[in-house]
Symmetry: C5
Subunit: 354 residues, 5 copies
Amino acid sequence: MQKQNAIYTDKIGLPPGALVYIGKNRTEKVTISQFEFLKGVYNETELDDFSTCNTKKKSSLVSWIDVNGIHDVTLIEAVGNQFNLDTMVLEDVVNTNHRPKAEEHEDYLFITLKTLKLIESDKDVVIDQVSLLIGQHWLLTLQEEGADTFGTIKERIRSAQGHIPQRKADYLFYRLIDIIVDNYFILTDVLGVAIEELEDKIIAAPDENMHDEIYQLRKKIALIKKAVVPLRDAISTIIKSDNNYISESTKKYFTDVYEHLVHVIEDITTLHETLNDLLNMYMSGLSNKMNEVMKVLTIFAAIFIPLTFIAGVYGMNFKYMPELAQRHGYFVVWGVMIGVAAALLLYFRREKWL
Amino acid sequence: MQKQNAIYTDKIGLPPGALVYIGKNRTEKVTISQFEFLKGVYNETELDDFSTCNTKKKSSLVSWIDVNGIHDVTLIEAVGNQFNLDTMVLEDVVNTNHRPKAEEHEDYLFITLKTLKLIESDKDVVIDQVSLLIGQHWLLTLQEEGADTFGTIKERIRSAQGHIPQRKADYLFYRLIDIIVDNYFILTDVLGVAIEELEDKIIAAPDENMHDEIYQLRKKIALIKKAVVPLRDAISTIIKSDNNYISESTKKYFTDVYEHLVHVIEDITTLHETLNDLLNMYMSGLSNKMNEVMKVLTIFAAIFIPLTFIAGVYGMNFKYMPELAQRHGYFVVWGVMIGVAAALLLYFRREKWL
Amino acid sequence: MQKQNAIYTDKIGLPPGALVYIGKNRTEKVTISQFEFLKGVYNETELDDFSTCNTKKKSSLVSWIDVNGIHDVTLIEAVGNQFNLDTMVLEDVVNTNHRPKAEEHEDYLFITLKTLKLIESDKDVVIDQVSLLIGQHWLLTLQEEGADTFGTIKERIRSAQGHIPQRKADYLFYRLIDIIVDNYFILTDVLGVAIEELEDKIIAAPDENMHDEIYQLRKKIALIKKAVVPLRDAISTIIKSDNNYISESTKKYFTDVYEHLVHVIEDITTLHETLNDLLNMYMSGLSNKMNEVMKVLTIFAAIFIPLTFIAGVYGMNFKYMPELAQRHGYFVVWGVMIGVAAALLLYFRREKWL
Amino acid sequence: MQKQNAIYTDKIGLPPGALVYIGKNRTEKVTISQFEFLKGVYNETELDDFSTCNTKKKSSLVSWIDVNGIHDVTLIEAVGNQFNLDTMVLEDVVNTNHRPKAEEHEDYLFITLKTLKLIESDKDVVIDQVSLLIGQHWLLTLQEEGADTFGTIKERIRSAQGHIPQRKADYLFYRLIDIIVDNYFILTDVLGVAIEELEDKIIAAPDENMHDEIYQLRKKIALIKKAVVPLRDAISTIIKSDNNYISESTKKYFTDVYEHLVHVIEDITTLHETLNDLLNMYMSGLSNKMNEVMKVLTIFAAIFIPLTFIAGVYGMNFKYMPELAQRHGYFVVWGVMIGVAAALLLYFRREKWL
Amino acid sequence: MQKQNAIYTDKIGLPPGALVYIGKNRTEKVTISQFEFLKGVYNETELDDFSTCNTKKKSSLVSWIDVNGIHDVTLIEAVGNQFNLDTMVLEDVVNTNHRPKAEEHEDYLFITLKTLKLIESDKDVVIDQVSLLIGQHWLLTLQEEGADTFGTIKERIRSAQGHIPQRKADYLFYRLIDIIVDNYFILTDVLGVAIEELEDKIIAAPDENMHDEIYQLRKKIALIKKAVVPLRDAISTIIKSDNNYISESTKKYFTDVYEHLVHVIEDITTLHETLNDLLNMYMSGLSNKMNEVMKVLTIFAAIFIPLTFIAGVYGMNFKYMPELAQRHGYFVVWGVMIGVAAALLLYFRREKWL
C-alpha cells in the first residue's frame, strides 16, 4: 500500500484520462499473445509490438488478444488507439487499485476485476487485476502480472477441445470470468479449512500467537470481500447489457456466475462470523488459563504461608517458650502443620480447585 | 469441507453443465423407487436401471420417482435425458454444496434444499441435499444419502391413507417439502432446550469447556440459517410461479410453509442472541471466579505475611533484644499476632470479602 | 419449551389443517360465554356445549362468543363448523406457539396475538395466546388460559357503560386488542423501573448474581419483542383490509394502536441498549473490584516480604556476624525496617493506590 | 418513569379519546397568553379562563394562544371545543410520554415534539413536551412546564422586531419549531465538549467512577435520539402537507429544519460511537492498570522470596552446617543474595517490566 | 468544538438567512482573486474590494472568483448581492460546521464540501470548508482558510497548460472538486500505512499508549467519513442536475468522482474494521502479558515458598529435634529442597509454563 500511495500523489491535479500506472513497480517486458480461431481454424501469434496486431480484418474469426503487463503506459495507449477505446477506460485499466466494475460503451463492454491466488508455500493471497474488453468478434484481456490464470483455457483452444473453439467471443469471455470466480471458491474453501484447523488448536489450548493467525485470516477474508462484492454488481451490469456481441445464452451462463458470487459472499460472511466466535473463544481461553495459573499460585501460597508462619513462631528466641522444652513438641507441631495443610487441601477440593 | 475442496478444484476450467459430483465420497449402490398412484390405483417398483423407467406413458397416473444417491453421475445424466432436463439443473443437483434455490423451467419446476437431521447419540446435525423436480403428472426427487426423510409419506401412499393418494403430484410435492421444513422446527426446539440446559449450568458454575459447547451450538445455528434463509426465497418463487401443474390451492399451502420458514428464522435469530447473552454471562462468570480466587489468595497472604514477619523479628539473633528476656514476652507476641489477624479479618469482613 | 417440542413431533407428516393442540398440557374444562347486545338490549349466556350457540339468527344484535381454553380440539372443530372457518385458521388457533398475524378471509378477519401479563409475586412474565375472529355482527375470541384480560370490557358491557354497547362488533374488536396492547406498555414500564433499580445497584457495587438479573431482563425483553414486532404488521393488515364489517372510524382507532406498537418497539429497543450498557458497566465494575483486591494483596506483600527478609538475615546462625554483637543493632534494624515500610507506603500513596 | 407507570395503568380499558394526563404530578396554575398581531397592530392578553378567548372573530389578525401547563384536563377540553379539535389529538397533547409526530387534520395541522434543556448546575437534561397546532390565522401552543423556550420570540413580537410581526401564523410556527431544534444543537455541542473532557481524563488515568460518567452521557444521547429521530419524520410530514395556511416559502424553511435534524442525528451517532470507543479505552486502561499492579507484586515477590529462602537456610539449627563456621560465610551469603537480586532485576529490565 | 458552541448560541432566535459566521475566530484579511480566461485570453486580478468585481460584462470569458476567508460577513453579503444569491445559501457558506451538500438554484448550482489536509509534522488532519457556486460563465469559490488546495490549478491556468484554459467554467468546477477528492485518497492511504505500522507494533508487543493511537486513528476515520458520505449524495445531485452551464461530458467526469467517493467510503470502512480487529488484538495482547506476569510470579512463589517452609522448620528451636543432631541432616535437607524444586520445575514445564 505504501508504494501506491507515493504514486497516487503524482496523479493529483492531472486532467481526467491521464494515463498513470498505479501499482507495484515492474520492469518485466510486456508480452502480447493473439489467438484467432473459429470452427477448426486456429492461429496463435506472439506480438512483439502492438502495431503488428490487425484486429479489424478477418471479421469472421474470433480474435483474442491477451496483454500480460500493464505498466508500459505507451503500449496501453497504442492498444487504446487500435481498439478505439475511451481514455477513461484506459485510466481504469492501468490503476491496479481500481475496484471491480463493468461499463457498457458504444462498441464494447468493459469489465475490470481481481484474481485472487493462494501461494501454497506461505498461505499468502496474491491479488492481481484483470481487465476484459469485449466487442464484435474480439476480446481484449489486460493483466497485471500475466500469471497462468488463463492457462487451461489457452490449452483448450490449442487442442481444439470443448466448446470454446466452436463458439463466439462472448462464450470465451464468460469462460475467462468463470475461471476467475471458480478460484474464489477454492480460496474460501482453503480459508474454511484453515479456520477449522485453528478452531481445533484453540479448543485444545489457546496460545499467544493464535490471535495473530485470526487477524491474518480476517485480513484475507476482507480482501476477498473487497474483490467479490462489487464484482457481483458488475456481473449484473453484463446480464442487463443490451448489445449484439453478448448472446442471450451466454447471459444465462452469467446468471450462474452471479449465483456463484452470491454463494461466495454468503460463505465469507459465515467465515467472518466463525472467526469472531473463535476470537471470543480464544479470549475466554486466555481467561481460563489465567484462572488456572491463579489457582496454582493461591493453593501453594495458601498452604505454605500459614505453615511457614507456624515454623517461624517456634523459631523465635524468647527465653520462656514452654512448648520448646516439651519432649514431643516438635512432633506435635508437625502434626498441627500436616493437619492445617490437609484441612486447606480439603477446602480447595470442595471448591473444585483441585 | 476438506474433501469437497479437493473435488471442486477438479471442476475449474470445465465448461458449464459439466456434471461433477461435489460431496462426500460414496460408493453405495444408488436405489430408484417409482410410485404410481391415483385414486385407488397404486404401483410401487424398484428400478434396477433407469432405462426401465417409463415416465411418459400413463399420463393420468401420478408418477413419483425417488432417486437415493446422486454420486453416480452417469445415472443422473440418464435421468436428465429421460425427463429432458437442462444440464445446468443437473449440475446443481450433483453439487451437494449448492445453496437452496428454486427455478421455473418451461416444463418443470426445480427446487433444491437441505434436510437437517439431529443424530440423537452425539447431538450432531447431519445435513443432506434433496432436489425436487415437478412437472405435469410427475415428481422426481433426488437425495444425497437416501435417508428415511420421506418414509412416513411413502407409508401413507402404500396404505392409501390421507389425501396424498387422492390428489395430484403438486400436493405430494408440497407434502415432501413440508415434512423437511417441519424437521427444522424440531431442530430449533432441540437447540432451544440445549441452550436452556447450558444456561442453567452457566448460572450454576461456569466451566472451562462450556465455551466449546456455546461454540458448537452457534455452528449448528449457522448451519440452520444457511439452509433456511435462501429456502424462504425459493418457496416464494414457487408461490409466484405460473404453470398448470401447481394448483392455486397447493400454493396456499406453500404460503403456510413460507410462514413456517419466517418463524424458524425468527426462532434461530432469538437463539443466536440468547447464545451471545450466555457467552457474556460465561465471561463474567469467569471474571467472578477469578475475583473469588484472588480474594482467597489475598486474605491468606495479607493475614499470614505480617504474622510471619513478627515471628521473624523475634527469631533474630541479636545479642541485645530486650523483649526476648521478658517473662511474658512470648505470650505478648502471641497476643499481638492474634490482634493483628483479628483486625485484618474484621477489615476484610467490612469490605465484604468474607 | 421442552413440552411443545415433544408435541410438535407428533405433527410431522400430518396433512395441512390437521388440528393438533400445541401448548402446555391442560385439563381444565373449556368455558364459553356468549354476549349479545345492541343499544340497550343485552344478553349473557354460559354455553355448555357449542351446538347450543346460534350465531346466525338475530343478525341485528352484536354477538360476542368468548372461548376460554383451546386444548379441546373437538370443540374447536365444532366452532369452526358453526362459523364456517377454514381448517388452516383453526390449526393456527390451537398452535399456541404461532407468531402474531392477521389474515383476511372472505367472510371474516382473523388475528392471533399474545397477551403478556406480569405476575407480581416473582416478577415473571406469563405469555398467552388470544385469537380473534370478526365477521358481520359477530366476534369470536379464543384464549389459551382464559385469564381476566377481557374482564373490564365484560363489566362495561354488563353495566351498559361507555361506547361499546352502543356500537358494532368492530368497535368491540378494537377495544379488546387495545386492552392487550395497553398491557404491553405497563410491562415495558415495569421493566424500565426494574432496570433503573438494577442500575443503582450496579453503580453502588457489582455483585455476582447481577449478571443473572440482567440476563433474565433480557429474556423478558426478547419475549415482548417477539410478541410485538409481528403484531405491528398484523395491525397494518387490519388497517389495509377492505370489508364491510370494519368501519373507517374503527380503522382510525387501529392507526392509534399501530402507533402505540411503534412506541413499544422503540421503548424495548431503548431498554435493550440500556441493558447492554449496564452489562458493560457491570463487567468494568468487576475489573475495578479485581484491581482493588490486587492492590491490597500487592501492598501487603510488597511491604512485609522485604521486612521478613531483613528479619531472616539476622536470624541466620553464622558464627561471625558483626551486627549481632552490636549494642544497638536490634534497634537500628527496627529503624531500617520502619524506614523501608514508610518509603514503600509513600511510593504507593504517590501511585494513588492508597 | 415510575410515576407515569402508575398513571398509565389508570388508562387501561378506557375508550379512545379519553383525556387522562400522563406525566409528572403538577399543581401549578395554568397560564394562557394570547398574542394578536399583524403589521403594526399588536395585542397581548393574559386569559384567566379559556372561555374569554375569542379565536374566530378578527380573521385578518394572527392569533397565537400559548398554554403553559397541560395537567388541567378540563381546560384542555375547553381548548379542544373552542378550536374544534379531535379528541384523539387532545389525548396526545396531554400524554407527555408521546413520541414526536405530526398529523394533518382537515382545518389544522398538529405537531407534538420535545424540548430538551440542559440545567447548567448539575449537567442534567430536562425533557418537556410541546404541542403546536396551526390553522388559518391561528396558532395554538401547549407546553408541559411553560419554561421560557419561546421567551425570545415573544420579546421580538412585543418589540415588533424582525420578520415575525410582518408575516403570517405559519412563519411564527416555523420560528417556534426552529428555536427548539436549535437547542438540540447546543445540547450536542455541550455533550461533545463533555465527552472530550472525559476523553482527556481517561487517557490520563482511568478511574473507577468514569464508567458511570460514560453511562450517564449515553443515557443523555439516547434521550436526544428519541426526541430527534421521530421529529425528522414529523417535519417531513409538514413539508409534504397540502393546505392553504402553510405557504411554500415557509416549507422551504422547514426543509432547512429537516437538514438541521439530519445533522443532529449524524452528530449524536458520532458521539455515540466516540463513547463506545472511550468505553473500550477505559476497559483497556483498567487492564493496563492491573498489569502495572501485578508487575509490582511480581517484582517484589520474585526478588525477596528467594532471598528470604537463603536467609532461612542459614537460620536452620543443624549441628553440622560447615558454612556457618566459616569466617567470611556471612559476607559470602550477602554477596550471593545481592547477586541473585541483581540478576533478577536485570531479567525484569530485559523483559521491560521496569 | 468548544468555540463554535459559544458562537452557535448567538444564533438562537435569529431569523433564517441571518448571516452569522460559525467557525474558528479569524482576523486575517480576506483575499479575492479573479481569473478570466478563454482560449488564449488570460487575466488575473487581485481585488481589494468586491465592488470592483464586474461579473456580468464579458460573458464570453470564463470568470473564476476565488475568495479566501469567509469570516468577513459584510463581504460575503456583498458577494451575495453581486451574484444575486439566496441568503440561505450565504448562511450555509459562512457556517463552517455545515455538512456537505449540493443545491440547484435557478441561475446557479451550489455545493459546499470539506477539504482534508494532513499536517506532516504531527500527523494531524486539518478540516476546512470550501463552497463552490457555478453559473453561466462564472465560478465562485469561497474557502475558510485559503490554503493552497487550488494552487496547482491556478498554475495550470497561468501557464495555459492542459485542458482548463480551453474549456468552460463547468470543467474548471469539476477539476477543483476532483482535486479535493483526490486528497481524500491520499489521506486514506496515509492512514492505511499508519494502521499497518501500528499493527506491526501491536503484534510485536502491546504497549500502554497504543490504545490512544488506535483511538486517534478512529477519530480521523470518523472525520473523513463525515466529510465523504454526504458529499457522495451532493455529487449525485450535480449529476442529476438539469441546466445549461454543466455539460453532459462534464457530468461524465462527475460520475468518475462519484465512483472515487464510493471507493473512499469502502476504504475507510475497511480501515475502521481493521482498527476494530487491532483493538481486539491489543486487548488479547494485554491479557497474554498479564498471563506472562502471573506465570512468573506463580513459578517463583510456588518454588520458593515450600523451600522457605522447609528451612523454617529446621530453624525452630525445639529442644528435641532428632534431625538436627544427625551428621548429614543439613545435606539431606538440601537434597530434599533441590528435589522439591526440581519436581516443581518439571511440573511447570509439563504445563508449558516454562
